[in-house]
């Protein structure tokens, strides 16, 4: 086996392995001297200089991983991207929470006359509202309020910045 072939085979092995592979293990599989492994890994590293992957030495072994700067992108994997703006139901629920916070789900539902579970979940996922604690009294219901992110999105310094209402 040429050094060129050995280098590629190491790349394939550390890519496919479930755990980091030590120089000893690689040498054993390839039938080579363990001392020659680090230089070959160095060559793989150089070949990937211009790409998104790198060889990481961890726990006495080598592993192929993505370079750290790609972490924010990889975090998005598995997370569905939702382009939809707020629905009417969510908008109403958000308005009530903004003007009435801290407020319970039951109180919101009384105003809207319909259930708000999915609207609340949606607003929580969008991080526009958050739980503020629990109300004293029967069932100790959760109290909701708007978040810092809500203020930022609407360009408000604080809740006192909300336009005053003509009726209350």
């Amino acid at each position: 086996m040429t050094l060129h072939e050995a280098e590629r085979t190491i790349e394939a092995l550390i890519f496919a392995a479930d755990e980091p592979l030590s120089a000893g293990r690689l040498a054993e599989i390839l039938g080579m001297d363990p001392k020659s492994i680090p230089a070959l890994v160095e060559r793989i590293q150089r070949r990937h200089q211009d790409g998104a992957l790198m060889v990481r030495e961890v726990g006495g072994g080598y592993q192929l991983v993505t370079k750290p700067e790609y972490a924010p992108w990889i975090e998005k994997l598995g997370r569905p991207v939702v382009h939809a703006p707020l629905s009417q139901a969510s908008t109403e629920t958000l308005a009530i929470i903004a003007y009435r916070q801290p407020v319970t789900k039951a109180e919101i539902e009384e105003i809207r006359g319909v259930r708000c579970d999915s609207a609340i979940n949606n607003l929580l996922e969008r991080e526009l509202i958050c739980e503020l604690g629990r109300k004293d009294g029967p069932g100790r219901p959760i109290l909701y309020g708007v978040t810092e992110k809500f203020l930022v999105h609407f360009g408000l310094k604080g809740l006192e910045d909300l336009p005053p209402l003509s009726i209350t």
Partner: protein, 239 residues
């Protein structure tokens, strides 16, 4: 007996017949029905002698072969009198055999691909994370505080209005909903039914459901539910 009886199970009567046709090196379009029937029955006898169970479909085929053989032995005039349309009693069987043969061969090619695909290794040590929180690119849309104030004012007005506010059913047509679902599916490998029903009125749920049925009919989507009461997944169809 110049053919070999395979004692391992055939995939069915078609499989057995194809093997007999191949071993006898005869034309599938002109099967010597007497010879093949004899060998077919002989095979079943061998199984019986070995005390092996014979599937019902093998027996049905035996009956079919015997019937075809009998028909072919009748003088042509008599056949014509009885069933004037039928040209060759073997015709239907040949069609079935050819069709089965095509899929059997396709299965063999698929097996090759299956083994071929095994040579490509994916990254090791993958553990999927179960985080499924959506990324909202459009958190509030073009909503402003003024809109919020107006919405809240309207809600308060409705609350105190006499008589209590009427429900206004939003009229959404199936065609419109269908278009919306198509948009939702762009670039997505799956969508859940629940996602489509978020914040929907009863009428819209019905319209959404009808739109989904229509998309299934158009073969644009497939729907799957892996467990009872589980998520209903909507997947774009590849066809």
């Amino acid at each position: 007996m110049d053919y070999v009886v395979k004692l391992e199970a055939y995939e069915g009567p078609f499989d057995l017949l194809l093997d007999l046709i191949e071993q006898n090196e005869v034309d599938i379009l002109d099967i010597p029905i007497a010879v093949i029937t004899e060998q077919y029955l002989e095979y079943l006898h061998t199984l019986q002698e070995q005390d092996l169970a014979i599937g019902g479909e093998f027996l049905v085929m035996a009956a079919t072969l015997i019937r075809i053989k009998a028909k072919m032995l009748l003088p042509p005039e008599e056949v014509e009198a009885e069933e004037p349309e039928e040209e060759d009693p073997r015709e239907r069987l040949v069609e079935q055999l050819l069709r089965y043969k095509a899929y059997k061969e396709a299965a063999a090619r698929l097996t090759e691909r299956y083994h071929g695909a095994l040579g490509y290794y994916t990254r090791g040590g993958r553990q999927s994370q179960a985080v499924r929180i959506p990324i909202f690119t459009n958190v509030v849309g073009d909503l402003t505080v003024k809109d919020l104030a107006a919405v809240f004012a309207q809600l308060m007005k409705d609350l105190h209005a006499e008589p209590p506010h009427q429900t206004i059913i939003q009229r959404v047509s199936v065609a419109q909903r269908l278009a919306e679902i198509r948009v939702c599916l762009v670039g997505r490998s799956r969508l859940t039914f629940a996602e489509l029903l978020q914040e929907r009125t009863r009428a819209e749920v019905v319209v959404t459901f009808l739109a989904i049925l229509e998309l299934i009919r158009l073969r644009e989507i497939r729907v799957r539910q892996t467990s009872t009461f589980g998520y209903i997944e909507i997947l774009p169809d590849y066809v």
